[in-house]
Symmetry: C2
Subunit: 419 residues, 2 copies
């Protein structure tokens, strides 16, 4: 189908979906869960074809792993839809209501944002996650996955549509953009009045391209140059555990730590312990003071001098930059300069320092005494997530259903006119 | 000052302002009210110079009136700031808070959006309105008024800054862009990372230009192709009153009605009365059925055939388009096709019809039995307003302080790491 026909079909379906209540939407989503279960074999087969083609084309194994589906991952997809079913309906909530002096009754209610488009890379689970959140929020969704995952996505979308049809749902509320061309993306990014928001989900280049070219609203996601600041009052053992976790539990995640800022008063105690813990696993890029504080490094430690660009880089790798600071103020200034407003942490036993850090750091999520790895819709209890917004406009931080809503004022009168 | 220096000065000032509490911000705003009172003579003098220049340059009197300040309007400006002082502080509110199974405490709090820019036409009161709302919301603001109002704006900004200095405020939290060049606007629209949102406030061309060129978030305001649908069950006399009010109380306002949709069952009763009421004041552009229903028109009535473009046009003038429909469904379809999602009304005594209309019409404000002219921050009780958002993203409808806020998650742990 030509993209323009898809746009109008989505818009029409969305207008109907917007009127459905929670019971209707949940019943349809449950039928989708059944349909994916029933389609498991076909989905795995389609995915195997994508994977085979990707390997034949020389795709790196790490990327193949993102593309790969197996029984466990199909289970996760089904479970993800179930968590969305269990979420409250975000639509039709009365956020506020008041009566004006002239007797007009004003109600502020939540309504669906409209039709969303998601442009994403190879992970096929995003197909089901994005669909289920959009459906529950009463939104249409255009899925534009990577061409490497085309067969998997086709097969998933087919199962979803079968489920919607079986469960009394509206199967035109989702559509897959299949051409894989750049033109297709450009057409989506220019669809003013047809697509209400576009969500790029993937690498930095994809996000930048979308942000720079979109003529429709975008929610930027994902880039995370995250910091942990270890205050002079921090618990040292705990600090080593948290830094290790924030770096190593999943180095390729956007909420992994990239630079640790250490108060100079504790550098000589903390850094040798940290170096020992990370030796053989993580390359450290240190400023001079930090390098001196590490002392005689363990033999297996990769220790380098930090360069200016290290402060700016989201490594997404087994690399950690370390900078020492004299004050909390200096740490905050560094973070507000180099950070991407994603997730920032302070480790401290000083409540005033924590409060100051929380107030001054400009980021979606600010942590005291915890790993930055918790910035995640699932961890936050939102069920599936649309991504993590790194912008301040419309949505910020892990995005669940609310990011796909807007408001409508309903005003009830008895013939009022304006004097 | 070069614009780039202004950007960094605003950002720095905003970071400080973000930390101030309500008492500090209100004290500064009260001092600004005093300073404007004290500067009244100088402001009026500067305005007189702008007005003289405008008239000499051949500006139309309607536009000169927008530019003009007088004692009454200065009073209104001061009173507008007072309403902002009386508003609750939108910052630092805990919107939600919960504890995760691992003991992490998550709090969702409101914080300032950052630095806003407003690009507006000649009305100098916007200078004070926009400043006071931004200041109360902890935001910096860049004011880019029209060059016709330059002396007035300079004089107002001078008084505001004097007030801020006298009241312990942060006078760098506002700045006036003075060059008046197109390049200046382009530089503002490209200021990614420096300006967090831009608000165009003025005519359609200005808004379109900003929306099409901005590389930073925009809130579209103002264009209102508003409708009133008169259902077959409506009270006829009341309908005539409401339509007259919505068209004539201020025809140049964005919330004035432009097209009336009339159920054919009552057209023959309503339209002759409406024609009589509007004769000599408003030109009617009718479809065939409506024209026939008007019957023998009063002599002073200007009656024309409606053309397709009349359904699309925001007249902002003494012109009203009239279309007849057979069903509510037809009215809703027309509105969702031609409307600008601003303000839409149904006049009816049928609750089901009202409910159906409210649910199906996609607009910021949907009225039952009232004039569309109430869509306004002041009327809604928000104090001053930044404008009326006609988009669904981030802010919708009359915008008060909330439109200048975003959220920050504060997460408190005791050493949690992600398993």
């Amino acid at each position: 189908m030509a993209l323009d026909n898809i746009f109008s079909s989505l818009k029409k379906a969305q207008a109907e979906l917007a009127l459905q209540n929670r019971g209707q939407k949940d019943a349809a989503l449950k039928a989708v869960m059944d349909a994916i279960e029933k389609g498991r074999g076909a989905i795995l087969k389609a995915n195997a074809a994508d994977v085979e083609k990707a390997r034949a084309g020389g795709m790196k194994e790490a990327l193949v792993d993102r593309l790969l589906l197996n029984d466990k991952r199909i289970n996760d997809i089904i479970e993800g839809i179930d968590t969305v079913v269990r979420q409250e309906d975000p639509i039709g909530k009365v956020q506020a209501g008041w009566v004006l002096p002239n007797g007009l009754q004003v109600e502020r209610t939540t309504v669906p944002l409209g039709v969303a488009a998601i442009i994403y890379e190879s992970r096929p689970n995003v197909t089901a996650d994005a669909f289920s959140l959009a459906y529950k929020a009463g939104c249409g969704i255009l899925l534009r996955g990577s061409s490497a995952a085309l067969e998997s996505n086709r097969s998933l979308v087919k199962a979803i549509k079968e489920g919607l049809n079986a469960g009394g749902g509206i199967s035109d509320a989702l559509a897959l953009a299949e051409s894989g061309s750049r033109d297709e993306v450009d057409e989506i990014l220019s669809a003013r009045g047809k697509i209400d928001v576009v969500l790029p989900r993937g690498g930095k280049d994809l996000i930048r391209r979308v942000v720079e070219n979109a003529k429709i609203p975008v929610i930027e996601t994902g880039e995370g140059n995250c910091h942990i600041y270890v205050d002079s009052s921090a618990d040292i053992i705990n600090a080593v555990d948290i830094i290790e976790n924030a770096k190593l539990q999943k180095p390729g995640a956007c909420n992994a730590v990239e630079t640790v800022l250490v108060h100079r008063d504790i550098a000589a105690v903390l850094l040798p312990l940290l170096a020992k813990r990370l030796a053989g696993k993580v390359e450290l890029r240190c400023d001079n003071f930090a390098k001196a504080a590490v002392g005689a490094p363990p033999q297996s430690l990769l220790l380098k001098d930090a360069a200016e660009e290290d402060w700016e880089t989201e490594f997404l790798d087994y690399i950690l930059a370390i900078k020492t600071v004299d004050t909390l103020e200096e740490a905050v200034t560094h973070i507000n300069r180099y950070g991407t407003k994603h997730s920032e942490a302070i480790l401290t036993n000083d409540h005033r320092a924590a409060e100051e850090f929380e107030r001054r750091v400009d980021a979606a999520c600010v942590y005291t005494n915890a790993s930055t790895r918790f910035t995640d819709g699932g961890q936050f209890g939102f069920g599936a997530e649309l991504g993590i917004s790194t912008q301040k406009f419309h949505a910020r931080g892990p995005m669940g259903l609310e990011a796909l809503t807007t408001i409508k004022y309903r005003i009830h009168g008895t013939g009022q006119i304006r004097p």
